[in-house]
């Protein structure tokens, strides 16, 4: 009685095994892009530009963590940019009333609360994630304008700068925060019940429910995280600029989604990883940085980034379909 009908997968060389992992292929892509850019611009690989790029990765990187969680469950969060804008204003206003730590807490709670509302609308009332977060996107931006009185809040206490400009072990605190956040998120997704449930929910929600997993809680949690992390991200922006603008985080959702997708996540859920997302973030930041260095007009940058993303995913699709054969 042949119980196993399929031949064991090729596990010949270590190289082949590595190449089967999407993250490895994407890392190779990131290196290739880095190499090309360093050939095109001598400034690209200098230490100061590398730190500059790491700095630029922080905000988008933080938002991409929440986005990864959401996309892993098969959802999408279009509201991250607007939530960042709104919570930025909330932070700016709170800082007028209270010390820094409680003010940040208020902003993060507000972001989490918005995510909770989206998550419940999507998972309890069964509305489409795309539509709910699209609505939240419009509401968030509109409230940001109303609360701010259409102008930037610029009297932010200078002490906020400590959040960004403290060096710990020679690493800027915001970059360190990003590194710790990715390690924690990776460990959570890999080793905890909640993390595995998030994968299971995205891969097959019905089966997850039938196995007794708490699908409702772990479908809502990613939206809460995503909202809260948007607020965290904007906190770093504000502490750098010492100003809260209602326009902050504009079109950030697109960069975050692009980073997650470049990192190998499936928009149908169940597939993706923090390592992949981090590589995706770096690819996005490198391209943008490189285009700036080469003096490409900002109006052309959108076209360039869009093209690179689509071509990268197209090549990946062709490669992976050949690899799985």
């Amino acid at each position: 009685m042949a119980s196993i009908t399929v031949s064991t997968p090729a596990r010949g060389s270590r190289f082949k095994m590595l190449a089967q992992r999407l993250e490895v292929r994407m890392l190779a892509l990131a290196l290739i892009i880095g190499l090309c850019l360093s050939l095109l611009s001598p400034y690209f690989l200098t230490q100061s530009n590398i730190f500059n790029m790491l700095d630029q990765s922080v905000v988008i990187g933080i938002v991409a963590v929440g986005m990864t969680f959401v996309i892993l469950t098969g959802g999408i969060d279009l509201s991250v940019g607007s939530v960042a804008g709104l919570t930025g204003i909330i932070l700016g206003l709170s800082l007028q009333q209270m010390p820094i730590v409680p003010a940040i807490a208020v902003a993060v709670l507000a972001g989490g609360g918005i995510g909770l509302v989206s998550g419940l609308l999507i998972n309890v009332f069964g509305l489409a994630a795309f539509v709910v977060t699209l609505g939240m996107m419009a509401i968030g931006r509109s409230l940001a304008y109303i609360l701010s009185g259409q102008t930037a809040i610029s009297n932010i206490p200078d002490a906020m700068q400590n959040i960004v400009y403290t060096n710990i072990l020679g690493i800027p605190s915001n970059v360190l925060f990003l590194i710790v956040l990715y390690i924690v998120a990776w460990a959570y997704l890999t080793y905890t019940k909640g993390g595995r449930t998030i994968y299971a929910v995205g891969s097959n929600k019905e089966a997850a429910r039938a196995a007794g997993l708490n699908t409702l809680f772990y479908s809502v949690l990613p939206y809460v995280l995503s909202g809260a992390l948007s607020a965290v991200a904007v906190t770093f922006s504000i502490s750098q600029l010492l100003s809260a603008d209602p326009l902050m985080g504009n079109s950030m959702e697109l960069d975050a989604i692009a980073a997650v997708v470049i990192g190998g996540a499936s928009l149908y859920g169940g597939r993706g990883s923090m390592i992949g997302t981090l590589i995706g973030v770096f690819i996005m930041v490198m391209i943008r940085n490189g285009l700036n260095l080469m003096g490409v007009s900002p109006f052309w940058q959108g076209s360039a980034i869009g093209t690179i993303i689509i071509v990268a995913l197209l090549v990946e699709r062709l490669v992976s379909s050949r690899a799985s054969r």
């Binding site: 009685m1 042949a2 119980s3 196993i4 009908t5 399929v6 064991t8 997968p9 080793y191 905890t192 019940k193 909640g194 595995r196 449930t197 994968y199 299971a200 995205g202 891969s203 097959n204 019905e206 089966a207 997850a208 429910r209 039938a210 196995a211 007794g212 997993l213 708490n214 169940g270 597939r271």
Partner: protein, 632 residues
Amino acid sequence: MKHAPSADPPPILLTASKITKTFDKTRALAGADFELREGEIHGLLGANGAGKSTLSKVISGHYSADSGSIRYRGRDIQLRNTRDALRVGIAIVMQETSLVPDLSVLENIFLPELGRPGRLDYRALKERGRAILDSLGQGDSLPFDWEVRRLSSAQKQLVEIAKALGVDAKLIIFDEPTASLSPGEVDRLFDVMARLRETGHGLVFVSHRLEEVFSITDRVTVMREGRTVMNAHPTADLTQAELIRAMVGAELGAIYTEPHTPGEGEGGPVMLEVRHLVTEPVVKDVSFSVRAGEILGLGGLVGAGRSETVEAIFGLRPRSGGEVRLGGKPLKGDDPQGAIRAGLGFVAEDRRTQNIVPDLSVKENLLLAHLGAHRGFFCGYQARERKVKELLQRLGLPEDRLMDASMLNFSGGMQQKIIMARWLLLEPKVLILDEPTKGVDIGTRASIYAMLRDIVAAGVAVVVVSSDFEELLGISDRIVVMSDGRSIADLPSAMLDEEKLTLLAAPRTSMARNTALLNQLAHEHGGAGFWALIEKDNLICLNTVVTDAALDPGFKAGEARGLADTLIPRALSQREPAFVPEADKSRTTLLVPMHSPRGHDLGWVGLCLSPDTALPSPEAIKARIDTMAAAL
């Protein structure tokens, strides 16, 4: 009803040769051959997963074959889709009908015409529809302007057939057409099929019910594991045993491990008790209980509400009434996690949509229910390490395959075994399996049955839901039959056979006619009426109506009794065409055999009266029962 063999065989309508078809990595067809003549009904047989449905769908254009050729009316044809197939005159009547529930009967019959440009002439369509139904001898059985959702499954099937004739189909495939029909409806379907044969149509009858195959087909083709193992053999020359041997392969006589020893499970405590369970809209009133060390079969036709019942027990579906007790404690029905922690396991019906998480490794799939039951922040996988190894050995799965990225690389049988192992890992008190052998090859079936026996021997109470009556009879100690959302019988499987199960499982529409008649008889004459199956010294009661409690025959619907244990033993054992008084003079009983129009045994209808009253004429009552039987 066999077709008289004529000297000149009718021309060949279709020949399929060496058809192969692979899905992902599963080989569904591995060189299947098939031949169909005009004016014949050709049985296509095989066990679950033998490839008969795939072959039908290749012939009807749903799938395109990987290799092989199809010759139709003397020409090689290449079908790219069902529209191609319909254009040349090949149609399929499927289990899940392809009708549009919100359109009217007429619109559904002429659905292909709705796609044509120009105005529809409803009056002309109505006439054509009428003509088609007349040609099938079903003149008035379909209300043309009803929406299809209001029809019974038998009527929907008739719409499908009419739809096929609406495009002048010459070849019609019936894929398990009797799966949700009552015996009377089956008879009517067979009449329709016989008429189609007379008019030169070639019909393919896909089924695994041998009895039906013998009563309607002219030739049979048997498939096993994707191959044709018996090609176009005249049915009349075959015995049932030969067909079974062809279907399961010679060495598999003992697929259902050792026959169960009756009374084995009787000592065990009741582990799961279901009382008057209601789940809108399908489950209306279900009660049963299972003891430790017992396999309970839950049988019934497709649509009887079996899956809905077990899903409601497990908490996947909201309950609207009734009570479930697990190991004596009430089990709330709102959440599977609670049920799992209380000791319930559930292998859902659809592997792909309800069980497998494709993006998790085999190991995590195996541990998924553990994860669901686990309390704690981390996964706690290492606590199960030893048990996992033990189970893998039992499944015959090498340990290094545990980390395989996808369950989907395994055969359906192995997938099913891994899903079962998912639950065994938790050592449940009660394990419910919904269609555990669906789409599983016959070899794995045998090992799944063996696994079930092992589980039961370890003291677990097992509930198996299956549409395959043969399987149900083969593995269960006791069978609860469901019909239209109600549990209507609870009998030891040793007392049952496929035929009795079919009758018990009949939809309540036919039961309603029977109840109406029993009601009339019992009321007119002031006694008790019943409908029962009698075999040797045993009786299985299908229905009773008692108007005078003093004349109760001593058994109720769904009960089985030895004839001597009833209150009317003499009448039951003599079975004479007249009223038979009992020895104690308390009752006198008339028993009338009931047959379907095609001569099928439908059991006996009885009328118990007081011997002191004026007895009606047995002939008059027999005539009424015959009329009822014809409509059943």
